[in-house]
């Protein structure tokens, strides 16, 4: 699983994409995903809306909106890949266009109950 972090328009030295750059980035990102879909590598992908509630305490008694929603740590979306190894997943993650704009990709293996 790939976790996309941070919005594509925030980073220390980035004042934000212009509307034209956003449009170019949209086409590029969609093409990236579409290609993986067609190759059967990507099995699911969803963006996550920025609003969030963080529950803690017994019965979720404490609810917060979380720290700065613009933090680079906030998960912006996820991709589930059909690959066998961490290396394959990493090399795919490396090609994600959002990395160019200050985003981060986290690669995680979905833990399984049984092993071959």
């Amino acid at each position: 699983m790939l976790l996309a972090k941070g919005s594509p328009c925030q980073s220390a030295n980035h004042s934000g994409l212009s509307p034209e750059q956003m449009q170019a980035h949209l086409a590029e990102s969609y093409a990236w995903m579409d290609d993986l879909f067609k190759k059967g590598i990507l099995s699911a992908a969803q963006p996550l809306a920025p609003e969030r509630k963080i529950l803690s305490g017994e019965n979720g008694g404490t609810i917060s909106d979380g720290a700065n929603a613009e933090s680079k740590e906030v998960i912006a979306g996820f991709f589930i890949l059909n690959v066998q190894t961490m290396d394959e997943a990493v090399s795919i993650a490396r090609t994600n266009p959002m990395l160019k704009h200050g985003g981060q990709m986290e690669v995680r293996r979905i833990a399984e109950l049984t092993h071959d």
Binding site: C9, P19, A49
Partner: protein, 437 residues
């Protein structure tokens, strides 16, 4: 992937730019010009969310409605937060809240263009300084980012951002209404709007300073906005058509002005087959619309000059007597030394280079031209045509000193070579400082 959009990752050209600008106009129409900053912020955020969501799921069937809805939701949240922070402020008026919470309805095109037109009269308000007007227009009406505006004006992004903040503050202080001016005031206000659009276009059309692509965009944005004026019943006046014709007839020749290496080309060196004939035809048609009125503006004359160049099959077929007559008219209207200088070129084409020189010598307030590299380049050209290469060289060298843009300097360096002189920076004689400064 449960709900992939139908149309993949593609939207119409400049969708983010122009749709963003439309939503800014719509929201400002409902919430007031004093909320322009808030409106721009929520629209920017809505575009970001569109990018984020659509890059996973594809573009929705009605992308414009999607952006409007998200922007409205964000505006409602922001206004409520504002209200909570300051109870004494009147907060959100009930009608605003109702509109912002209402489901999206397809807005008729007329409503959108009405809002954009009103926004133009806000951005081009005479109480705002010209540089504030142009920056605002590019940000608010055209959806440029501060970085893109900075690239166009060779300024820094921070400076442009500050200029925009100050302009929005000024709009707030002046409580500028979001309206098309009343008929009594409209004519004078339209003059101001057209003039700023003319400046915006010229900024883009000027020789190759700054980012080339952004500059071409400036021209096309100016054309888009003037087109809107010519389509709206309140503003479709002959002078608006004349300005549009002027822009089209110049931009049609935009790409032919330079060769592949970016060198500026003279009119007779340009490849006329590279001129955009469709745009020329559109320009001529606009000029015809423009002539359906009693008055003649400088736009009418400048467009007619451009048209005369455009319809000549080759440079030798140019109707210079007609161009000279048009310059006579233009000079009578503007009285500007720059117009007189351009007229001298037409004089030389009709009556020979000596007459051109005489015309230059008789220009009133000629000292204003002395700092202009073109003035010296034109003198040099006339001198060369008269068979005085030495004089020509002196003038071209003076022009080389004054030219600021690399393309202009290269252009003059080629003229100097043609006169048998050396380009100053290519071969400076020993101990002599290169002329280039």
């Amino acid at each position: 992937m449960s709900q992939r959009g139908s149309s993949a990752g593609e939207v119409a050209d400049h969708f983010f730019r122009h749709e963003g600008a439309k939503v800014v106009a719509t929201l400002t129409g409902h919430l007031g010009t004093h909320r322009l900053q808030l409106v721009e912020d929520v629209v920017q955020e809505a575009l970001l969310r569109a990018l984020q969501t659509w890059s996973y799921q594809g573009v929705p069937a009605n992308p414009a409605a999607w952006v409007v809805q998200v922007a409205k939701n964000l505006a409602l949240t922001a206004l409520k937060r504002e209200q909570n922070w300051n109870d004494k402020q009147d907060g959100i008026a009930a009608e605003h809240e109702r509109w912002l919470s209402a489901p999206p309805n397809d807005m008729p095109d007329e409503t959108i263009s009405d809002d954009t037109l009103r926004m133009m009269f806000v951005c081009f308000h005479p109480e705002l300084a010209t540089d504030a007007q142009t920056a605002l227009a590019l940000r608010t009406l055209c959806g440029f980012s501060p970085a893109e505006i900075a690239a166009a004006f060779i300024s820094s992004e921070t400076a442009i951002a500050k200029r925009l903040v100050r302009a929005r503050q000024r709009i707030r202080e002046l409580a500028l209404p979001f309206v098309v001016p009343e008929p009594a005031e409209l004519s004078a206000r339209l003059d101001g709007v057209l003039h700023t659009l003319y400046l915006l276009f010229n900024e883009g059309y000027k020789a190759s300073a700054g980012d080339h692509l952004v500059r071409a965009d400036l021209c096309h944005e100016a054309i888009r906005l003037v087109t809107l004026l010519t389509e709206h019943p309140a503003t479709r006046e002959p002078r608006a058509f004349a300005l549009l014709a002027l822009m089209l007839l110049n931009v049609a020749r935009f790409s032919a002005r330079t060769d592949d290496a970016g060198n500026l080309l003279r009119l007779h060196e340009q490849d006329r087959t590279a001129w955009d004939q469709t745009m020329i035809e559109r320009g001529i048609l606009c000029l015809r619309h423009a002539s359906q009125g009693g008055t003649v503006s400088i736009y009418h004359i400048e467009a007619s000059i451009a048209a005369t160049h455009c319809i000549a099959a080759e440079s030798s077929a140019t109707d210079w007597p007609r161009i000279l007559a048009l310059y006579d008219q233009l000079l009578a209207l503007t009285g500007s030394p720059v117009t007189a200088m351009n007229r001298a070129v037409a004089v030389a084409r009709v009556h020979g280079p000596q007459a051109g020189l005489d015309a230059l010598d008789s220009i009133q307030r000629r000292y204003l031209l002395e700092a202009h590299h073109l003035y010296h380049a034109i003198r040099g050209t006339f001198a060369a045509e008269l068979g005085h290469p030495k004089d020509a060289l002196t003038h071209f060298r003076q022009a080389a000193k004054l030219a600021t843009l690399p393309a202009e300097r290269d252009f003059i360096a080629r003229r100097i070579e043609e006169c048998g002189g050396f380009t100053p920076d290519a071969a400076a004689p020993n101990g002599v400082k290169p002329l280039q400064g």
